[in-house]
């Protein structure tokens, strides 16, 4: 029990003093996972719209693939991305291994199926005649997509929250492709693992509390937006 109190005290001390470069690590976590979620959203909308709106052979297979992707173990994704990006790998010339960009790639692959699955489900649940109605009003395909997305914006926010949550709480892939380099690729989850392996439990608890607060804060903001939209 003492340890937990120590951890709580330590977290306040860390936040107050701003040491352990904790703000820098927190900011990096948000930037990396935020970028990954944004890219995953672009992918998710494109693919989600295609499989939600079109009848084509293999459509059920496509849905199954996306749903499988939602449960892919991050560490497997990390290994595949690492093998690809290592110097000896096929994309070794890009020199991306052990950079924040490599973590963005891995987290994008983790978040993309989640966002795609949520998006496809959201778009499928719209009224089937909505699209023909929008076309009937003379909209182009892009305008139609925009209007449909606007109509589904609340479930899309849920997609963003789920994707971001999956990305920021992930560790196996990030440590493998990022290397947990101080000041470069160290994010909240990898910093916590490092502190535990060094036996600095108070610091690890402090970082965990800050990570939880961070995820909570992001969700409060997104939920508030969602609620306001619902009421307006």
């Amino acid at each position: 029990m003492d340890l937990i109190w120590d951890g709580i005290r330590e977290s306040f001390r860390i936040i107050a003093n701003g040491d352990y470069s904790v703000w820098e690590i927190a900011l990096r976590s948000v930037l990396v996972s935020g970028t990954a979620t944004a890219i995953a959203l672009l992918f998710g909308i494109a693919v989600g719209a295609v499989i939600a709106f079109n009848e084509f052979p293999g459509r059920n297979l496509a849905f199954s693939l996306v749903n499988t992707g939602m449960g892919l173990p991050p560490v497997v994704i990390g290994l595949i991305v690492a093998i690809t990006l290592w110097r000896s790998g096929p994309l070794g010339d890009l020199r991306l291994i052990y950079t924040p960009a490599a973590m963005v790639i891995a987290q994008t692959v983790i978040a993309a199926p989640i966002v795609t699955g949520f998006t496809a489900a959201a778009l499928r649940s719209l009224h089937p005649r909505l699209r023909s109605q929008i076309y009937g009003l003379g909209a182009s395909r892009l305008q139609m997509l925009w209007l449909v997305l606007w109509e589904a914006k609340l479930p899309l926010l849920a997609a963003v929250m789920a994707g971001f949550g999956g990305a920021i709480s992930e560790i196996g892939a990030s440590i493998m492709v990022g290397g947990n380099l101080a000041g470069d690729t160290r994010i909240m989850t990898t910093a916590i693992v490092l502190e535990v392996s060094r036996g600095q439990f108070a610091a690890a608890i402090a970082l965990s509390l800050i990570l939880l607060a961070l995820i909570f804060l992001v969700n409060v903001i997104l939920t508030t937006v969602q609620q306001q939209e619902q009421h307006s």
Binding site: R87, Y98, S197
Partner: protein, 282 residues
């Protein structure tokens, strides 16, 4: 329409990734090393000094010696700092590593709970201590990760003529030295550790040193470059600069002083320029 928009988005993303990846401008040196040099905090002190003296940015990948050597073998790192001499020699003989230099040493110890259920405290032979643990079926946590420490542990079991593999009291953590010490601590188990990592963590451990001083415990660290002639992506000059730095007077002084203020004794003993044969205890 939608597809063209998708491709443009994809291209934009790739451009951003390239920009982020190549950012900084400093040339990178990838150092693959053991968890003991990193978990003890030594590299946190050494590497900023090297970066201050040169224009390189060091990426420290702290893994077991087994993985570090494998990275060297494939050209995925520029420079290695490891502690498994016989495996290192294989790498040098295969042509994957060059410029291998002696850096420092410390020693291994057998640690366990104060109760010492198998009664190994004060033994002077590592093999005898392992045999006693074996006979008493006392819980032993092995690294199990093909690291330098794990290789040493396997060599001691071999000395003792015993094979603990598969026994219920013999567990493998598959993690670094720091994490393995924590597991041994929680389970009141025995484990083999390098002295540096143990001392660095001792304030968070109830484990005590039970067996030390056997010549087999000698633990020597070498630095070496991955051969740039074999792998064209290896940073030749950066790797050479790091090797030179590790055996320079300034780095050796840092190693000599590291940990003295906190633990009353150095965690590693600098050895640059010495002959390995004169170091090896008889």
């Amino acid at each position: 329409m939608v597809t063209r928009w998708m491709w443009m988005a994809l291209l934009g993303v790739l451009a951003i990734l390239m920009a982020v990846g190549c950012g900084g401008g400093k040339e990178e040196v990838i150092l693959a090393t053991t968890t003991s040099t990193y978990d003890s905090g030594l590299l946190d002190t050494l590497v900023p000094n090297f970066e201050g003296q040169t224009d390189y940015e060091v990426k420290i990948i702290a893994v077991g010696t087994g993985q570090a050597l494998a990275m060297g073998e494939r050209g995925d790192a520029d420079v290695l700092l490891v502690h498994a001499p016989s495996s290192e020699m294989e790498l040098v003989e295969s042509g994957a590593a060059i410029n291998r230099q002696l850096v420092m040493h410390n020693d291994f110890i057998i640690v366990g709970s104060e109760d010492d259920p198998a009664g190994i405290e004060g033994m002077t032979s590592a093999a005898d201590a392992f045999a006693t643990i074996y006979d008493n079926e006392a819980t032993f946590i092995s690294r199990g990760d093909d690291s330098g420490t794990h290789k040493k542990e396997k060599a001691i079991w071999e000395d003792a003529g015993l094979d603990p593999e598969g026994k219920s009291w013999y567990e493998q953590s598959g993690q670094g030295m720091g994490a393995t010490l924590q597991i041994a601590n929680q389970k009141d188990a025995y484990t083999l550790s390098d002295r540096g990592t143990y001392l660095a963590q001792s304030e968070n451990l109830d484990l005590v040193v039970l067996v030390e001083g056997d010549p087999v415990f000698f633990n020597v660290y070498h630095v070496m470059q991955v051969n740039p002639e074999k792998f064209d992506k290896v940073n030749d000059e950066g790797g050479a600069a790091f090797v030179d730095f590790m055996i320079s007077d300034s780095a050796q002084d840092i190693i000599r002083d590291f940990g003295v203020d906190k633990f009353g004794q150095p965690l590693f003993i600098p050895d640059a320029g010495k002959d390995e044969s004169e170091l090896a205890p008889s």
